[in-house]
C-alpha cells in the first residue's frame, strides 16, 4: 500500500509556543488512522496545516503523490480531501436538509437550476433518519444543539465522495448510541475505499475502529502502532492515557 498523505518535518510556532515541532507522519491509503495525544499536543494545528487552513512555518505536505504545501482548502477539497471541525461548521442559514444537499457536491448554480438526484435524495433521507435528524430536517442548522450540529457535519461528509477524510473529534458531544452508528458508517465508507485520519479522545472508539494509531506529544509523533500495542506502551500511558 502507498501513502495517500504524508507530512514531512512540519513546524508551526504561535508566539513562543511550538505547536507543531518538526512533525513527520504518513497515512496509508485504505486505513482508518487515528491521531491521538494530549490537549495542546498539536493535533488540530496539524489538521489545519494539512487541509490548508494554516500555513506551516516549515515542512512539506504531500497528498496523493503531489506536493500540496500551502494549497487552499477549496482546492484540496476538490482534489478529494475533506474534513470536519471540533466546533462543527455548518451553514447556519440553510436547513438541515439543504446542508446535506450542498455537501453532495452540487455547484451552487445547480442548486438553483436542477433537481437533486434521487439517489442523493435517498441517501440524505437515510442519513437524517439514522442520525435522528429527520424530525429537524426543515429547521435552520442554527437551531440545532451542539451535538446535532456535529452529527449534521458528519452526515455532510458522508454525502461527498472524497479520497481522504479528516475527522476532528467526531464523537465529542454525541450520544454514545449514535457514536456506534458513526462507527458503522466510517467502516462502510472505508470498505468503499475512503481513507480516514481521525483525531479523537474517546479511546473506546479509537481502539475498536482505528489501525494504526499515531500518538502526538508536544508537537511531534512519539509512537505509531496497532491499537493494542499503543494502549500498552509505557510512553503513551505516561503522556496521554494516564492510569
Amino acid at each position: 500500500m502507498t501513502d495517500l498523505l504524508s507530512v514531512h518535518d512540519v513546524t508551526k510556532v504561535f508566539g513562543g509556543v511550538r505547536a507543531v515541532d518538526g512533525a513527520s507522519l504518513s497515512v496509508e491509503e485504505g486505513t482508518i488512522t487515528a491521531l491521538i495525544g494530549p490537549n495542546g499536543s498539536g493535533k488540530t494545528t496539524l489538521f489545519n496545516i494539512i487541509t490548508g487552513y494554516l500555513k506551516a512555518d516549515a515542512g512539506r505536505v504531500e497528498f496523493a503523490g503531489r506536493d500540496v504545501t500551502g494549497s487552499d482548502p477549496g482546492r484540496l477539497y476538490r482534489e478529494g480531501l475533506s474534513r470536519t471541525f471540533q466546533q462543527a461548521r455548518v451553514f447556519p442559514q440553510l436547513t438541515v436538509q439543504e446542508n446535506l444537499v450542498v455537501a453532495g457536491g452540487y455547484g451552487w448554480r445547480k442548486l438553483f437550476s436542477s433537481r437533486v438526484g434521487n439517489e442523493d435524495r435517498e441517501r440524505a433521507a437515510s442519513l437524517l433518519e439514522e442520525f435522528r435528524l429527520d424530525r429537524v430536517a426543515d429547521l435552520f442548522a442554527s437551531e440545532l444543539s451542539y451535538g446535532q450540529r456535529k452529527l449534521l457535519e458528519f452526515a455532510a461528509v458522508l454525502m461527498s465522495a472524497p479520497r481522504l477524510v479528516l475527522l476532528d473529534e467526531p464523537t465529542a458531544g454525541v450520544n454514545p448510541v449514535l457514536i456506534e452508528t458513526m462507527e458503522r458508517h466510517v467502516r462502510e465508507r472505508n470498505a468503499a475505499g475512503i481513507t480516514f485520519l481521525i483525531v479523537e479522545h474517546d479511546m473506546t472508539f479509537v481502539m475498536r475502529l482505528c489501525d494504526p494509531v499515531i500518538v502526538l506529544d508536544a508537537g511531534r509523533p512519539i509512537f505509531t502502532g496497532e491499537p493494542s500495542v499503543v494502549q500498552n506502551n509505557a510512553l503513551v500511558l505516561d503522556a496521554y492515557l494516564g492510569s
Binding site: G147, V174, N175, P176, H201, S228, N232, D238, G242
Partner: protein, 259 residues
C-alpha cells in the same frame, strides 16, 4: 431537608417549537446530578432555564425555596447559581489570570477576592503556571480548567456544567470529573449535562434521563449504569474493563504505568 432546586412542569423553547415539554426535576443540596439523553433532547435548555438565559413559557424554577422564574441571569448569579456553558467562554485575547479575575467582577471586597482567587488557583494550578498567556493559546482541555476555576471565584452554591468533559483528553477528563467530586465535597451542588454518560454518571450521586423534552427516569447514578435498558438506549456499549481490547499473546504489557 427540602431540595435546593426544583424544576416543576417547565415548558420552554426557542421561537415556535417547545424543546422542554413539562420537565420535572428535583436536586438535593450537596449532590451531583447528571442529566443524560439523546442529542437534541433538551439537556442544555434545562440548564438555561435554571441560570436564566431562557425563561420558561410555563412552569416554575425554585431555588432555595424561592421562585426564580422572573429573576435576571445576574440576579441568579448573585444568589449563587453559576452556569458554565458548553461553548468555550473564556476571552481568548485576555490572559489566563485576567480571565480568572473576570469571575470576580461582581465582588467589591478585595480581600475576599484574593482569598477566592487563591482557592481557585489551588484547585486548578494551571491558572498560576500559565497566568500570563493568552487564554486563546491554551488547548481546549486547559481552557476548561480555567473556566472551572473561574466559577469558584464566586463561591457558588449551585454549579451548572454543560458537558464539562467535551474535547478533553483522557487525563484531563479524569481531572475534571475528580474536580466535580471536589466541588461537591465542599458543599456545592452540581447539575451537569454529559454525553460522556458513563463517566458522568459514575461521578454523580443521581442521574436523570431526558428524552424529547421530558424527564423519563431519575435514579442513582450507579443504578442507571447497571440498568441494561438504559445502557442499550442511552449509554452504548460498555468500554472494555481491561486496557487491552484485542489481546495478543505476543503483545508486551507495559508494567511501568503510573498515574
Amino acid at each position: 431537608m427540602p431540595p435546593i432546586l426544583v424544576i416543576d412542569s417547565v415548558v420552554a423553547g426557542y421561537g415556535a417549537g417547545d424543546i422542554l415539554k413539562g420537565v420535572n426535576l428535583s436536586v438535593e443540596a450537596g449532590t451531583v446530578t447528571c442529566l443524560i439523553g439523546p442529542n437534541g433532547s433538551g439537556k442544555s435548555t434545562v440548564l438555561k432555564t435554571v441560570s436564566g438565559l431562557l425563561r420558561p413559557k410555563r412552569g416554575t424554577v425554585t431555588f432555595q425555596d424561592q421562585e426564580i422564574n422572573r429573576l435576571s441571569p445576574k440576579a441568579r448569579l448573585l444568589l449563587g447559581i453559576v452556569h458554565v456553558p458548553q461553548d468555550r467562554s473564556l476571552f481568548p485575547a485576555m490572559n489566563v489570570w485576567d480571565n480568572l479575575l473576570m469571575g470576580g467582577y461582581l465582588l467589591r471586597d478585595q480581600k475576599l477576592l484574593q482569598q477566592r482567587l487563591e482557592h481557585a488557583v489551588d484547585a486548578f494550578p494551571i491558572c498560576r503556571t500559565r497566568a500570563k498567556e493568552p487564554a486563546g493559546s491554551l488547548s481546549g482541555g486547559e481552557q476548561k480548567q480555567v473556566e472551572l476555576a473561574r466559577t469558584l471565584v464566586l463561591d457558588p452554591t449551585l454549579i451548572l456544567l454543560d458537558e464539562p468533559s467535551i474535547g478533553l483528553d483522557p487525563r484531563s477528563r479524569q481531572v475534571v470529573f475528580a474536580s466535580i467530586r471536589t466541588l461537591s465535597e465542599t458543599g456545592r451542588t452540581v447539575l451537569l449535562v454529559e454525553q460522556n454518560a458513563r463517566s458522568g454518571l459514575a461521578a454523580s450521586d443521581m442521574g436523570a434521563v431526558l428524552e424529547s423534552g421530558v424527564v423519563r427516569l431519575v435514579a442513582s447514578g450507579a443504578s442507571l449504569l447497571e440498568d441494561p435498558q438504559v445502557a442499550r438506549l442511552y449509554l452504548g456499549a460498555a468500554p472494555p474493563t481491561q486496557p487491552t481490547t484485542t489481546p495478543r499473546a505476543t503483545t508486551p504489557r507495559a508494567t511501568t504505568a503510573t498515574s
